[in-house]
């Protein structure tokens, strides 16, 4: 096969660099020359699936109903740690309508997420899976799990991060609760810190944030005797497929995963969980489709969270620069086996000569963490960017000026590779102008009422988002002259379907409504999971290549039909255009009978020795009521440098949404776990407070919008995660500017603000 080669590609995913083997065929397309909008790219387009979303026709996993479908429910541990001595299912099995009960004494051995069993002999958190029931309807299934009798031998537990680190905590893992989760060094931190003029040594905390995607995790599995079809609310159809085939020991072609619409994931749905395996297992055993969809409470116990963190930072300044930075972190991973490392921003954001960081993962008797929109970076940026402001105050430098001194570098300090593109200074300039930074005073400003103070703050964001191979697209032309684009990625609400339709229409010369996108199905060739802000930058360039191939073939075919050389033809708005004549494709295609024009596109590897990053800055204006401690966020200006913007309308939505979620993290969202009982006390949407329409400030969204031509042929990078990263620190810095009080714990609740205000008064 000519032109086929096997290469290595280095890609970043959620803050870590991975090397993968990729097969490359043919040549990549050149990136477009400038960033000017074309017929489709750079245009604000309403979503191509908007009609389905506003009419209730969009089919979510929760809505899937199959003939003969059974309903599964899961019995979860009511205690944080115990040995399961015995399970009595007699009463449950006697209930009319119950079809099967699974638990650790009768379930097959299944390897899943690093363990050898679905149902642990030692349950390790409130919500741990103990048994599952399949029944004719969900009410019966719920009644049945209530009838299961379990004999627990209670064991000592610990749920709190700082308690688990301490000497008196029971050892949850045989080798202790604290584990290494990453280390990094450059320069000589100790020496630089000792020789500095100004130093600070500060501790920050962030609480556990829960995803609370409105559609809970869930799956509907249907085994037909040979093949398993699974509808799952997921960000990664191939991720689910691979986990299920491994757990159930099936071939890849025996598992098909479908997710056309999904009701939010935010990182927690990058693979399946036990419910998916349970639904599949029960379907294979009973020969009927089985639905297992979590309740809101289960969602908040056993479907992931953003770890609480404890972070200690030391910074040192000399001659107007930051000369040393040390960052040590501990993350409450619950029963998770990895940590979302909060030190990433400290290691990579600024050009600081001497850096040292250490991250620890702490095991507790709480549900496992999962990725949550910029995992680690949200927590770490809150600490780092708060600390940079604290140092700026100590150094008597404007905090934006201090950052600019460290943001000019064109090389990634961790790898010494040059950035493919970096426009961070422009982000600063635009943001400072929009918020009116020049009116900021070091001692804050008077507020709108006598007991209110006003302040401005800002913070910086760094993240990956370059995407990479493998990712594939096929495009074919239907007999009516419209195109069908098929990809193995999914649209999790970010607008992927619309953006790639725009890329396809643009390259082909079709109108947007002449492109149909098929996605969210493992029957297509591989596409990456929608996480790490990789989707568009991974699949978009492949779509361009596939569409370009179709265009070339189409011109030759049309030339044959119209009896003209292809070189004199082009395609515009769905018509073949020659000198003085336009022939709609829908008239050309029928003349080809059922001959079909097909193009395929692959994602070529990322360039060697370049660091592909996204940058941005948020500026916040807040008022603080010094009597009540309430923070009123008045305005957020968000400026992001993420390469080319394919759809300004949906891109702005991403940024607004990221900010709203970040404000929840900054101000109100906090999982509360009773230490004695080990129970999540706010596993619902009443006591766990996510932002409402009444909590949203004025939001100004700006993009630098310059294509990153070295990154990929589309010039686009990811935008899913960048906008949630810097908001909390920008707000904390604005609060400190307004009041002089430094709140070092997110969420910055009224109690914490009042405490910080009292510290200022005392000093």
């Amino acid at each position: 096969m000519p032109g086929l080669r096997v290469l290595k590609s280095r890609d970043e995913f959620e803050g870590e660099i991975y090397t993968s083997t990729v097969i490359v065929e043919g040549d990549d397309l050149p990136a477009s020359r400038d960033g000017a909008p074309t017929a489709e790219i750079g245009r604000a387009r309403p979503r191509v699936d908007g009609r389905n979303r506003v009419t209730g026709r969009a089919m979510y996993t929760q809505d899937v109903r199959l003939p003969g479908m059974l309903h599964a429910a899961i019995l979860r541990s009511p205690v944080p740690r115990a040995r399961v001595r015995a399970i009595d299912t007699k009463k449950a099995e006697a209930l009319p309508g119950v079809r099967a009960v699974l638990h650790r004494f009768n379930a097959p051995e299944i390897e899943f997420r690093g363990e050898k069993t679905l149902f642990r002999d030692e349950v390790k958190f409130v919500g741990d899976e103990v048994a599952a029931v399949a029944a004719d309807d969900s009410q019966v299934a719920q009644q049945a799990i209530a009838l299961i009798e379990v004999d627990y031998e209670i064991l000592p537990h610990v749920v709190d991060l700082e308690e688990a680190i301490g000497p008196k905590a029971p050892k949850i893992d045989p080798d202790g609760n604290v584990h290494d989760a990453g280390e990094y060094k450059r320069g000589d931190f100790r020496k630089a810190f000792k020789d500095a003029d100004v130093t600070i040594d500060v501790t920050y905390r962030t609480s556990t944030q829960m995803h609370n995607a409105l559609e809970t995790h869930g799956a509907v599995a249907s085994w037909d005797g040979d093949r398993l079809t699974v509808w799952e609310s997921t960000q990664a159809v191939f991720g689910v497929r691979n986990m299920l085939k491994d757990a159930l020991k099936l071939q890849p072609t025996q598992v098909r995963v479908i997710c056309e619409y999904m009701g939010g994931g935010f990182g927690a749905k990058l693979g399946t969980y036990k419910y998916g395996v349970i639904a599949s297992l029960l379907s294979m055993r009973l020969g009927r489709p089985v639905r297992c969809v979590l309740t809101r409470r289960e969602e908040n116990l056993a479907a992931g969270n953003r770890s609480a963190t404890l972070q200690k930072l030391k910074l040192a300044g000399k001659d107007g620069r930051i000369v040393a930075l040390e960052h040590e972190s501990w993350s409450n991973s619950g029963q998770g086996r990895w940590a979302a490392n909060p030190t990433g921003p400290s290691n990579t954001l600024y050009d600081i000569a001497n850096v040292s960081s250490t991250a620890h993962r702490v095991t507790t008797n709480a549900g496992a963490l999962s990725a949550f929109r910029a995992p680690g970076y949200v927590e770490g940026t809150f600490a780092l960017e708060s600390a940079v402001d604290e140092l700026a105050v100590a150094m008597k430098v404007d905090p934006l000026t201090l950052r600019k001194r460290h943001a000019r570098s064109v090389t990634d300090p961790r790898t010494d590779n040059r950035y493919s593109l970096k426009r961070l200074l422009e982000c600063y300039a635009i943001g400072a102008h929009e918020i009116g930074w020049s009116k900021r005073r070091n001692a804050g400003m008077r507020g709108s009422q006598p007991h209110r103070r006003r302040g401005l703050g800002m913070a910086t964001q760094i993240w990956g988002g370059g995407g990479g191979p493998p990712a594939y697209a096929t495009v074919h032309i239907e007999t009516d002259g419209t195109a069908v684009l098929r990809v193995g990625v999914q649209d999790i609400g970010t607008g992927t379907r619309t953006a790639i339709a725009q890329v396809c229409a643009d390259e082909l010369g079709l109108q947007l409504d002449q492109v149909t996108v098929r996605l969210g199905d493992t029957d297509a060739p591989y596409g990456p999971g929608s996480g790490g802000s990789v989707t568009l930058a991974s699949i978009g360039p492949a779509v361009r290549i596939a569409a370009s191939e179709v265009r070339e073939k189409l011109l030759v075919a049309a030339g044959g039909i119209l009896e003209m050389p292809a070189s004199e033809l082009r395609i515009e708005r769905g018509s073949i255009v020659s000198k003085g004549a336009r022939t709609p494709l829908k008239e050309v295609m029928p003349k080809l009978d059922n001959s079909t024009i097909i193009g395929t596109g692959i994602r070529h590897p990322n360039p060697d020795k370049l660091a592909i990053k996204t940058f941005g800055a948020h500026f916040a204006q807040v008022e603080v009521d010094v009597r009540t401690g309430e923070i009123f966020v008045e305005k957020i200006v968000a400026v992001h440098d993420v390469g080319r913007i394919v759809n300004p309308l949906t891109a702005a939505s991403q940024v607004q949404g990221g900010i709203v979620q970040a404000l929840g993290f900054a101000l109100t969202e906090e999982r509360v776990v009773d230490r004695g009982l080990g129970r999540v006390m706010n596993a619902n949407l009443e006591w766990y407070e996510i932002p409402t329409s009444m909590d949203v400030p004025e939001i100004v969204v700006r993009f630098v919008d310059v294509p990153d031509r070295k990154a990929n042929n589309l010039g686009a990078k990811g935008l899913g995660e960048p906008p949630i990263i810097p908001t909390a620190a920008a707000v904390a810095n604005a609060v400190a500017n307004a009041t002089g009080a430094r709140v070092r714990h997110a969420p910055m609740t009224r109690a914490r603000v009042l405490k910080a205000l009292a510290m200022v008064e005392a000093s």
Binding site: T55, G56, A213, S693, V696
Partner: protein, 162 residues
């Protein structure tokens, strides 16, 4: 004298989207479970099932209610409207149209509830302003944070009506 019905399944006639529909459900069934189950109207979403989020909002006699907290049996003789009943002959309702134009959603899971809340507001107050819209959807959580565009869509739909 009202006759007692239940606890086993009973026959109910519900007026949904302008049509009388017969269902056979236990009296403890919520309107939400009845719509999504026997009536097959899955456009209305279940999120919390306890009145915290507004995703299941439908209209009863033009007023927005959480269908998860409403018993189906209590809606006999009343007009129930769901997201499926809004568009007529393939033409979107002006509120639906405004949601599409303003990108007033991301994942779309809260969208049916948001749309119903705004439709109800505009029926009661055709000249609704930004504050009215923001308050009207304050009981409809959106985890993607599409609120700015949801409010913009509501305001635009109101302007169109004026």
């Amino acid at each position: 004298m009202t006759s007692l019905r239940g606890p086993n399944a009973v026959d109910l006639t519900l007026n949904v989207n302008g049509h009388d529909r017969s269902v056979h459900v236990p009296p403890r069934f919520s309107l939400l479970d009845t719509l999504r189950g026997p009536l097959g109207l899955t456009g209305t979403k279940l999120v919390c099932d306890e009145g915290d989020c507004g995703a299941c909002t439908v209209l009863i006699d033009d007023r927005p209610v959480y269908s998860c907290l409403t018993l189906a049996i209590a809606t006999e003789g009343r007009r129930v409207e769901t997201i499926e009943g809004l568009s007529q002959d393939g033409t979107l309702h002006p509120v639906q149209e405004a949601f599409v134009e303003h990108d007033a959603y991301q994942c779309g899971f809260c969208t049916p509830g948001q749309v119903m809340s705004v439709v109800s507001l505009l029926r009661a107050k055709p000249d609704a302003r930004e504050d009215d819209v923001r308050r009207a959807v304050s009981g409809n959580l959106c985890r993607c944070g599409a609120y700015p565009n949801i409010v913009a869509a509501g305001v635009a739909a109101a302007k169109k009506k004026r």
